[in-house]
């Protein structure tokens, strides 16, 4: 099976390096606390750019007996190694203005040493460093392949930040987090690689050293340090380290390392004896260290710490994703060559389930003794003896062909079949992507345009989000009926639904009202991303087919309005649920009936239980978009179970107008479509101004409302019904 090169490399690289990366990430997390630890313990900082080196040295000379070294830390403090007037040698922080000793150098807690060793070399010295260095390099490649993989999934770099459709928790957060942590982790990895290369001497350094053999100019006047030019003009923020002259001998110089260069300075005159510019690699090395360790900024070290947690999470979620996608068991098929076969099975697939189903289908064909060939769509060719072409294909990204089907259309164009063929196409996809099964559809339509190709079974779409197993079974049944071949697939050969049944806890169920209608609230027991207008597919029992109910999301609970049918399996089951019961269900995303939050106005039309999603949408109307709600029920009591939600929405001004009609309350029978008709002027004006009309409830009601719109369209050509459909200004969810 050919898989996308990015996904493949992303996976393989991660598998190779994950063990080392886990260690590096955990130890990195611990080490990221170090800069914070120092920040808490160190004395306060003083602005070094305002103090000259001469001033500081002058003060130190007054305060101490001997000066050995002076350096600035990456946190911006001044550290000096001196011998006090009492003759003891100390290393610690000093105040660069007064020379006062502020405290001993904070010795690095040995726990950090231990973790640094583990982080750098796994206690394996050079070999360990090699492993870690290579893993870090692989991390760079993992990130790069991840970038391309993500771009491909999202349908191009331009859609980088468009929303993530996956509903599976780990898949979704693997992507969301990587969009955020990409940059810091890439910085960690690249600087890590640089530091490793440096460790192994793989960075060429032209290390020019200072020339100590040069002699000082004896003519120059002697001056005290605070008057010497070099020391007057060099401010402390440029200084990395100063080694004081070993003795008062004029040929013992100050050895000074600045950020840009290294210098030798004569101690009595301030003459610059020799200087060497720092090579570019020194600068890179300096910044690599700072960025890799966070030593210069506690804030950055927090980001580093978060990135470490991120890496651990990517490894864990990556394992989970792989485990769910892993290829199924392999078995061998006795295939014939494409030339000899009567049945040609072609596959376009990026992942296991399409291929598994095609293989299982092929296996069954082979059992009947037919000659069958199985290959991918890119290998489409002339078939001498073929009778049937059976295609199973997925769609990738934004309606694109899977990698192993890219060349199919090209080949189709060029190749003429010697015999006429029967064609069947099954598309596999997930309805969370707007263009799911687009490629399969195109394959089918392009094929049947050819007179030589005759449709055998209608194009079938398998939706991984919605009972794919059922769809496949139905398709196989059709095939069996038409061909007469028995098809006996095992349970695990069918594509599994992406969504596993989940438990939902009943938090409330109202008693049945006069119309046998009730409200039931449910709490998902695991992570779910859903909104009002999505559908809850409820399983009344293990074997039962799912029934759908429109969801209202109110205060993070699922609220359904259900009418109990007299002999209805599922509605009766729900009517008998009690608080704290668990029910099994899945959430089906229904993008075509979500709250249109960019609409200038919304007209909601519902009858009976159809009001449910609207209750949630009113709650979602945080920006107070004007909403006119039309609802029709039997009588006043029918409305009362929704009373509390409607009042709440009314109080918060989340609904502008109600138009309620009752069919059994008064003498006259009045349906919701009558109320809609009464408001013709208003509604047509609204629609012309871009309002969205949403219809939910019974199909007969929907049809009558749409008939009305059509009628108005005829009278007033300004409301283009087709245009409204196309622009998603008419949304329906009826049953």
């Amino acid at each position: 099976m050919i898989t996308s090169i990015y996904r493949y490399s992303h996976l393989v690289l991660a598998a190779i390096s994950s063990l080392f990366l886990v260690v590096a990430a955990i130890t990195g997390l611990v080490l990221s606390t170090e800069p914070i630890f120092y920040d808490l313990k160190q004395p306060d900082k003083i602005d070094l750019s305002e103090i000259s080196l001469g001033q500081t040295i002058h003060k130190l000379q007054q305060e101490y007996d001997e000066l050995i070294t002076l350096s600035t830390t990456s946190q911006g403090l001044v550290l000096a190694d001196v011998v006090t007037k009492e003759g003891t040698s100390v290393t610690g922080y000093i105040n660069p203005k007064t020379g006062m000793f502020l405290g001993d150098e904070i010795t690095r807690p040995s726990i950090y040493n231990w973790f640094t060793n583990l982080h750098r070399s796994l206690f394996l010295k050079s070999i360990g460093r090699g492993f870690i260095g290579v893993s870090t390099f692989l991390l760079v490649l993992i990130i790069v392949s991840g970038i391309f993989l993500l771009a491909q999934r999202q349908g191009g770099f331009s859609k980088w930040f468009s929303s993530i459709k996956d509903k599976e928790f780990h898949k979704k957060y693997h992507v969301i987090l990587s969009r955020w942590l990409l940059i810091p982790i890439l910085i960690i990895a690249i600087t890590g690689v640089y530091l490793s290369l440096e460790q192994f001497d793989l960075i060429p350094v032209e290390n020019q050293s200072l020339d100590w053999s040069l002699s000082p100019d004896e003519e120059l006047p002697l001056q005290t340090i605070e008057n010497q030019d070099f020391f007057k003009t060099t401010t402390l923020d440029q200084v990395k380290e100063v080694n004081f002259p070993f003795s008062s001998d004029p040929i013992d110089y100050y050895e000074i390392y600045l950020k840009e260069k290294s210098v030798l300075v004569a101690q009595h005159t301030g003459e610059v004896i020799d200087q060497v510019e720092n090579p570019f690699t020194a600068l890179v090395s300096y910044y690599s260290t700072i960025f890799h360790t966070g030593s210069a900024s506690p804030l950055w070290s927090v980001i580093l710490g978060i990135s470490c947690i991120g890496i651990l999470y990517f490894i864990i979620s990556g394992c989970v994703i792989y485990w769910k996608r892993r290829p199924k068991k392999n078995y061998k098929l006795e295939l014939s060559s494409a030339q000899d076969s009567e049945y040609i099975v072609l596959v376009g697939s990026e992942s296991g389930s399409t291929y598994a189903f095609a293989k299982a289908f092929t296996q069954q064909l082979l059992r009947t003794g037919k000659k069958v060939s199985l290959s991918d769509l890119n290998h489409y060719q002339q078939y001498e003896r073929a009778l049937h072409l059976i295609i199973f294909t997925a769609t990738y990204g934004d309606g694109d062909a899977p990698t192993n089907a890219r060349k199919f259309f090209d080949r189709l164009e060029k190749i003429d079949q010697p015999r006429s063929l029967f064609v069947s196409v099954v598309g596999f996809g997930s309805s969370i992507y707007p263009k799911y099964n687009e490629f399969g559809k195109q394959v089918y339509h392009r094929l049947v345009k050819d007179e030589n190709m005759k449709p055998y079974l209608p194009f079938t779409e398998v939706d991984e989000e919605h009972q794919p197993e059922e769809t496949c079974k139905q398709w196989l049944q059709l095939w069996q009926q038409k061909s007469g071949f028995p098809m006996e697939l095992k349970v695990d050969q069918f594509p599994k639904s992406n969504i596993e049944k989940q438990k939902f806890k009943v938090t409330h169920r109202s008693p049945l009202n006069k119309d046998e209608t009730f409200i039931i609230s449910l709490q998902p027991t695991s992570y779910n991303d859903y909104q009002s207008g999505d559908l809850l597919e409820v399983y009344a029992s293990e074997k039962a087919k799912a029934r759908q109910y429109s969801i209202a999301r109110i205060q993070n609970k699922i609220v359904l309005s259900v009418r109990k049918h007299e002999h209805g399996l599922c509605s009766t089951y729900l009517a008998n649920c009690h608080k704290n019961d668990d029910i099994m269900a899945t959430i089906k995303t229904n993008t075509s009936f979500h709250f249109p939050k960019d609409a200038p106005k919304i007209i909601m039309v519902a009858n009976g239980t159809g009001i449910a999603p609207f209750l949630g949408m009113l709650d979602e109307n945080k920006t107070n978009i004007p909403i006119d709600l039309y609802w029709g029920g039997k009588n006043i009591e029918s409305l009362s179970i929704y009373g509390e939600y409607l009042e709440d929405a009314h109080k918060k001004q989340q609904v502008s107008n109600y138009h309620i009609s009752y069919s059994r309350e008064n003498e006259v029978v009045e349906y919701v479509q009558h109320k809609v008709a009464e408001h013709k002027e208003e509604i047509t004006t609204d629609l012309q101004q871009g309002a969205v009309i949403m219809i939910c409830g019974s199909l007969s009601m929907q049809n009558e409302v749409l008939d009305l719109l059509e009628l108005w369209n005829k009278e007033n050509p300004k409301i283009q019904l087709e245009q409204l459909y196309k622009n998603q200004k008419i949304l329906t969810d009826c049953y």
């Binding site: 001997e66 070294t69 190694d81 040698s89 040493n113 206690f123 080694n243 070993f246």
Partner: protein, 159 residues
């Protein structure tokens, strides 16, 4: 009561003498030869005339992972592992020089002891005796050439 008092005085005296071993401060500059690779680990120790380790005076290199590479010294230090935090500094790279203050117990000076500089570079050569000098007053203000990674060492007693 009197006995208790005497005991206390004795104890104080004892602890006093123990904590104030008299030391001589010597400024020490190590100049490395030019080489490429990691910074060198350098251990400065006092040995007796048989070459037995007496005391560790200074350690350049703070990463204990590599201490075992400094073979002879590790056999001495590794057994007891006294706290050397206060007398350790950074490694010294090729061509670099470094100045530090060595605190040498005065009892070892002019009494047939030696000052040994032992060097090792990660994954490269180890020198058990890169440089050695007799601990005498005159040697403590001199310049001595090394045989391994060290080009020379300059010493100067503190005032």
């Amino acid at each position: 009561m009197r006995i208790l008092y005497m005991a206390l005085v004795a104890l104080i005296c004892l602890s006093f003498t123990a904590s104030t071993v008299s030391k001589t401060s010597v400024k020490c500059m190590i100049q490395m030869k030019n080489y490429t690779g990691e910074g060198a680990y350098i251990v400065v120790s006092v040995t007796d005339k048989e070459g037995e380790y007496k005391e560790t005076i200074y350690v350049h290199g703070k990463d204990p992972e590599w201490y075992s590479e400094i073979d002879s010294w590790w056999k001495f230090y590794g057994k007891h592992r006294p706290d050397i935090d206060a007398i350790s500094g950074e490694t010294i790279a090729g061509g670099e020089r470094s100045i530090s203050v060595l605190e040498i117990p005065t009892q070892y000076i002019n009494s047939n002891h030696k000052l040994r500089f032992e060097t090792a570079v990660e994954d490269q050569d180890y020198n058990e005796v890169d440089l050695e000098l007799d601990l005498t007053d005159s040697n403590l203000k001199s310049k001595v050439d090394g045989t391994g990674w060290i080009r020379y060492v300059r010493l100067m007693p503190q005032k």
